[in-house]
């Protein structure tokens, strides 16, 4: 039971980190970004590459974390504005399908681009993971790194909440989310808000990737799985909702942990079944708002 809970929370933290950027971007830009997984992969590559390049045994652990963070920031700050300004900008107000497919094309392009930059051979950045060691919970060892992930997810979650609710930019963002036209009329620089929001989303995707990098072998193909996974989480929680993403992650995390411990065969299907069930009872997701048209 404890094991299920611990595993569930660990997985929930990871999946929240990976998917929260997607929901933020959807909230502001109204675009469901299929290339989100690619941005995750780029973050993983950049982070892993920095660790491999600059981190030597014997250096302080904190440095490796700084490198991962730097990787996420570099990847996000370079790609975010670039993609938003050069590509997404042309799709605002266009058909939803079209926006979806523009990001799908981006997903194809970024996939090969990562391959061109980093090659096909894996990058390993497990130093931070193994250096942290283990902690025993109920006789079963867990990596301390998982606790870092939980902490990071909580930090990101709270940080985003504070940003949305306590800062000027957060209020601007909320206004743009609420009504783009009125915001423009009020003199809000909507394009700038969009660029910044997308960049934050990209940094978050890259952050998810960078902090996953120490636990995996960073190879081509890690982007695809993350896409559907984050779709599921974000849809379950309600598109555009921060609280939703948090709760959605938790539900998916616990459901998966139950499956792994009790019905290991069904691990694969759990997430989609949860998604279908939630959507049947809450078509807009747990925290989504239904839109009613006024006549």
């Amino acid at each position: 039971m404890t094991a299920i809970l611990v595993d569930g929370v660990v997985y929930a933290s990871w999946i929240f980190l990976v998917s929260v950027g997607l929901t933020l971007v959807f909230g502001v830009l109204r675009i469901l970004n299929i290339a989100h997984g690619s941005l995750y992969a780029v973050g993983a590559y950049t982070g892993a590459w920095l660790v491999v390049r600059y981190f030597q045994p014997g250096m302080p652990l904190a440095l490796s974390f700084a490198l991962l963070l730097a990787g996420a920031l570099i990847a996000g700050l370079v790609l975010g504005p670039l993609i938003e300004r050069l590509l997404l900008r042309f799709t605002y107000g266009r058909d939803e399908v079209m926006q979806l497919l523009v990001t799908y094309a981006l997903f194809l392009i970024l996939g090969d681009l990562t391959k061109l930059i980093w090659g096909v051979n894996p990058y390993y950045a497990y130093a931070p993971y193994s250096m942290l060691g283990n902690v025993s919970i109920g006789n079963v060892p867990y990596p301390r790194y998982d606790l870092v992930l939980i902490g990071l997810a909580a930090t990101v979650g709270i940080g985003l909440w504070l940003m949305t609710n306590r800062t000027r930019f957060g209020r601007l963002m909320t206004a743009v989310i609420g009504d783009r036209e009125i915001s423009t009329a009020l003199g809000i620089n909507v394009p700038l808000v969009c660029t910044v929001a997308f960049t934050i989303g990209t940094v978050l995707a890259a952050l998810g990737g960078a902090f996953t990098a120490p636990t995996i072998s960073v190879v081509p193909g890690i982007d695809v799985t993350v896409i559907v996974l984050s779709f599921a989480v974000v849809v379950i929680g309600g598109l555009g909702s921060l609280e939703g993403a948090a709760l959605g992650s938790l539900i998916v995390g616990i459901a998966r942990a139950i499956a792994v411990h009790r019905f290991p065969d069904l691990d694969l299907v759990t997430i989609y079944v949860v998604m279908v069930i939630v959507l049947i009872f809450r078509p807009q997701g747990l925290f989504g708002r239904a839109e009613v048209k006024r006549l």
Binding site: A3, Y11, P122, N139, V140, S217, V219, P220, I222
Partner: protein, 443 residues
């Protein structure tokens, strides 16, 4: 009204013509391959994964293997018995194709087949299964080089299709034998395998082989994470809690490496005896080999890499490969070598039999059927599937870390007749019936 009718009709016709024009513009017919005219050179289509998750662990090493072999073959720099230049004097030219090519594997295969003389390829079992019937229709000699499913020649027989590696069942039967003899007090076995055919079949074969060897061993519920799931911490903690004597895994590529990264610090590899049936490529990954602890049972899907027998061909192959690519060849490179060398041997045998420099496809097929040929991994015989499916010996070893270097010790070799089912019996049944006819198994 009349006029409008006419206008619409004209529009329909123009639409039809426009559509056809677009269709034909994009589908320019190419002239059929000039395969049967006297070739100056032989074109060989080589299909491996150049993109996606299987590219790095399998596709690229295989492609590299093909590249270096074909170049050396054209130069005539291979050791005996392959010292002839080209295929019996005929130059060979590779045409590489991504196994993930669109729109679907069959369309891509047919396009390739139309422009080459032979095809070597396919890592994914799904692709092998779907390409085999297409090869029959195209009447194109096609050598499957890496995929593992036994279904290809167990469920069907093919004239144009050959497979120069043993099935994955062989890997898992040998793994079970190795585990069984190494850990005589074995009580519980569990596994962690990817939730798709490769993982499911591997676990089924391994667990039933163990059961067949000793019915008292308890088989625990195995873990089946989704392929490329990335994070296995839940599965690892479940396995740690269950604490079985042996954990079987057919993980490959990034998944296998992820399991090592996540599992090693937690003691997954020291609490239980772990068997990685496709784990050998990890030893060639410089960044990660140091994580590999002692005591892990590793396989290479046959006697490849560090498990290869000592012979001149292997000495040449591993040196040439390492010189060029700065890394040792992993088993997919060996599998590719088997396919290329098998085809070369068959082609040259057909030349001799037909007294012609350019034997027909039928003659090459006849020569290939039941052929035995030398490879870096020893002698391979096309013994099953009416002479179209190779049998291979198997080998397993256990890792030993010394001075930061990982080697395989306690290597056991399983001769062909110990781990391959005889012709006419499905691997599954052979296992269930306690391996009738198996002999010469090492203790």
């Amino acid at each position: 009204m009349e006029r409008q009718c006419f206008m619409t009709f004209r529009r329909v016709i123009m639409a039809a013509l426009a559509a056809t024009a677009m269709a034909s513009a994009t589908l320019v017919p190419s002239s059929p391959a000039a395969a049967q005219t006297q070739p100056q050179e032989l074109k060989i289509g080589i299909v491996t994964f150049l993109s996606g998750a299987a590219a790095s662990p399998f596709g690229i090493p295989a492609r590299n293997g093909a590249e270096i072999l074909l170049e050396s073959i054209n130069k005539g720099s291979l050791p005996a018995p392959y010292e002839k230049k080209g295929f019996g004097g005929v130059k060979v030219v590779p045409v590489f194709m991504d196994e993930a090519s669109g729109p679907d594997p069959i369309s891509a295969y047919r396009r390739l087949a139309s422009s080459v003389d032979f095809v070597i390829g396919y890592i994914s079992s799904e692709h092998c299964l779907s390409v085999a019937p297409a090869a029959e229709e195209e009447q194109k000699l096609t050598v499957l080089f890496d995929c593992g499913t036994p279904r290809i020649f167990e469920d069907n027989s093919y004239r144009y299709v050959f497979r120069t590696t043993a099935t994955a069942a062989v890997d898992n039967i040998a793994a079970a034998r190795y585990v069984y003899s190494r850990y005589p007090n074995l009580k519980t076995v569990s596994g962690i395998n990817q939730n798709y055919a490769w993982g499911q079949d591997s676990w089924k074969d391994f667990s039933s082989a163990i059961k067949s060897l000793d019915s008292k061993v308890k088989i625990d519920a195995a873990q089946f994470p989704a392929i490329f799931a990335g994070s296995y911490s839940s599965q690892i903690s479940t396995l740690l809690a269950a604490d079985p004597d042996v954990i079987h895994s057919s993980f490959w590529g990034g998944d296998a490496e992820g399991l090592l990264i996540q599992g090693a610090p937690l003691g997954l590899f020291s609490r239980s005896h772990v068997v990685l049936t496709a784990g050998e490529p990890i030893l060639h990954r410089q960044g990660i080999a140091s994580l590999m602890p002692s005591g892990v049972v590793l396989g290479a899907r046959g006697p490849h890499g560090p498990l290869a027998p000592e012979n001149k061909l292997d000495a040449w192959f591993s040196k040439a490969y390492a010189d060029r690519y700065n890394t040792e060849p992993a088993y997919p490179s060996y599998h590719m070598a088997q396919a290329v060398l098998g085809l070369k041997a068959a082609y040259e045998k057909a030349q001799a039999a037909s007294h012609s420099e350019h034997p027909t496809t039928a003659q090459v097929i006849a020569a290939f059927t039941h052929l035995s040929f030398e490879t870096p991994s020893g002698t391979i015989t096309m013994a099953l599937g009416k002479g179209h499916q190779a049998v291979e010996p198997a080998a397993y070893g256990v890792t030993k870390v010394e001075n930061g270097k990982v080697t395989l010790t306690d290597v056991k070799r399983y001769p062909v007749e110990c781990v391959n089912p005889p012709e006419g019996i499905k691997a599954e049944d052979w296992i269930a019936r306690h391996f009738p006819g198996a002999k010469n198994c090492p203790k």
